[in-house]
Assembly symmetry: C2
Homo-oligomer: 336 residues x 2
DNA sequence: AATATTTCCCAAAACGTTTTGGAGAATATT
DNA sequence: AATATTCTCCAAAACGTTTTGGGAAATATT
């Protein structure tokens, strides 16, 4: 594997000149630059990343840690999200390093420390942000560039992307109300998650706009998985006064919810309405197809990377806080 | 951020000794080693990865490239797969870098070159192996350690994990035959993929064992997505002599297939039987729940990393070729 | 008491870059 | 013709480790 020294020797130039020719400095003659570029290419020279990183004190790498729950972890949201991160990073010649850890665990903490202290990454992408997320505190204190999907409640400047949920929820619930539903339940997630906070709030605002009085017994917390949604619906259907429509915090929950409804002999879309949130690809092919608030996951991921990279480079970011409007996709799971 | 030099100065030792104390060499007194470890920890010292990499000429990093298809890419298989890769790598203090590129594209080639030539990774994980996969040729030629999920047909030693499909397919098809099905279709994927080769072969062997003569018009190729499965079933149902059972190359295809069947007014599990392959988490919650050949994705990923790491370290690998038996999960989508 | 061995430590080189601070040659300006 | 300016180039230092090849002191062996 040729080094810069080999290229220099082959051309009888100093390594300084080769380096500067390759990096586009203007204190090297055009003729030599061309020559350098050509022979470097011919010799198959690629700069050694470690050496460059050591000297430059930066890594050209960004990090992302998957929020894996204990046993199994399979959410199509994340494969699309990671594809977006990886693609966009690669387009700027950055690398993406990925690891996995349960949220708010010691393993998570250890990973962040390893990456931040060891100067393993130039910046970090956070998602599934929690209301009082130690990660944003930690990264802000250490002045490590980071962007997040969803805003925490900590007094730290928020840079990233957030989904504006209220409008979409209002649309969804008004649609359900127009279909004649008045007992509309909500299946949420852990209350320390910002998405749960937002989506539950959106649900309540939606009810209010539709002039439906909120019934606390119709809000129930699950864990973002099909299993969670399945169990939650079994509870809801056991209620004396069971709901006729159910809004779920994400599509996976809705998939489990539909399963439980079917199992109880209800025809989803006729006997009960069920809606999700995320717009994962599967949602178009569930039986019946799922009404959902669709988010452009790939673009969100891509946008986050773009923002993070300019943060790292010290460019001034015109838009530090991007708001995304989810799009209501009405499908047969809510009748109509 | 303290360096090894700071630690050495604080203890009035040489950096050599500090380095060797930390690395566990036995030519340093136990008392000093303890002292070094303690103060290094107290000072918050973490070795700089770039410097270590440069000196050691290795990166403690493995790479994986997602096979993203053009528009959207969301397959829960991959979120679980990546979680397994990341977890297991992190447990050995290795990092996982992830990027994305369409299979067999110039972008894919560019990424591999960047990683291999630039010594960015110590080893690579391959999946969705193709029959004549340029990647295995390339990596073998460059003597870059790699492991793959599924074996190519190239004359290169195979190291990795493969799924033994025939047995599972025989079970599945014999089950279908016992249910009275004799027109059993197969929806596959691109024929250059090893999984397509294997699973299609398994299907044919299964038919043979069940003494059903194979009808070529019942094999149809899709693209591993729900959309593909959906379109394929529309074609199949338009046949003069339509199938009564359909075996799909993966669960996503099966999900789309069920959708199309429903849409044609067929009740899946009663009027038509549909089965998938992979055992993604959703498959338990489709309507009806999907019969599938379940693979332990997380364990497969984890196993691949373990193998790759010993390959990198030069340990002798006792098992270079691991065979996995998928497990048939019979669910209502095939009636019964 | 001399020699051999073990124990514990260290100075210096090396890994492959980028950057600093010029220096000589060519050209432009007086 | 002398001086100033611009063009090109380069030697050397630095980034933070690990490893090599000892070397001095302490201990064991004759």
């Amino acid at each position: 594997m040729p080094t810069i020294k080999d290229v220099a020797k082959a051309l009888n130039l100093s390594i300084t000149t080769v380096s500067r020719a390759l990096d586009g400095y203007d204190d090297v003659a055009d003729s030599t630059r061309e020559l350098v570029i050509k022979t470097a290419h011919k010799m198959g020279y690629t700069p050694n990343r470690a050496a460059r990183q050591l000297r430059r004190q930066q890594t050209d790498t960004i990090g992302y840690i998957l929020p894996t729950e204990k046993p199994q972890f399979a959410d199509p949201f994340y494969s699309e999200f990671i594809a977006g991160l990886g693609d966009t990073a690669a387009a700027s010649n950055f690398d993406l390093i990925v690891s996995a850890a349960p949220p708010d665990s010691s393993a998570e903490k250890a990973l962040y420390e390893r990456w931040v202290q060891g100067r393993k990454v130039d910046g970090i992408i956070i998602n599934r942000t929690r209301l009082l997320d130690w990660r944003v505190q930690y990264l802000a204190e250490r002045e490590t560039p980071f962007v997040s999907l969803e805003r925490s409640q900590l007094p730290v400047e928020f840079i990233g992307v957030e989904t504006e949920t209220n409008q979409g929820m209002i649309e969804l619930i008004s649609y359900l109300a127009n279909q004649g539903h008045s007992r509309i339940a909500y299946i949420g997630a852990s209350p320390d998650l910002k998405i749960e906070y937002d989506r539950h709030l959106g649900y309540q605002v939606g009810l209010q706009e539709a002039q439906i009085t909120s019934d606390p017994s119709l809000t129930i917390r699950a864990n973002l998985t099909p299993e969670g949604g399945y169990q939650a619906v079994r509870q809801l259907l056991a209620l004396a006064n069971a709901p006729t429509a159910i809004v779920c915090v994400n599509d996976l929950t809705a998939i489990g919810a539909m399963h439980a409804a079917h199992e109880s002999g209800l025809k989803v879309g006729r006997d009960i309405a069920i809606a999700g949130f995320d717009g994962i690809a599967d949602s178009a092919h569930t039986q019946p197809p799922l009404t959902t608030l669709d988010q452009p996951v790939y673009e969100i991921a891509s946008r986050l990377v773009t923002m993070l990279l300019s943060l790292i480079k010290g460019d001034l970011l015109s838009e530090r806080q991007v708001k995304i409007q989810p799009k209501l996709l009405i499908r047969p799971s809510t009748g109509g």
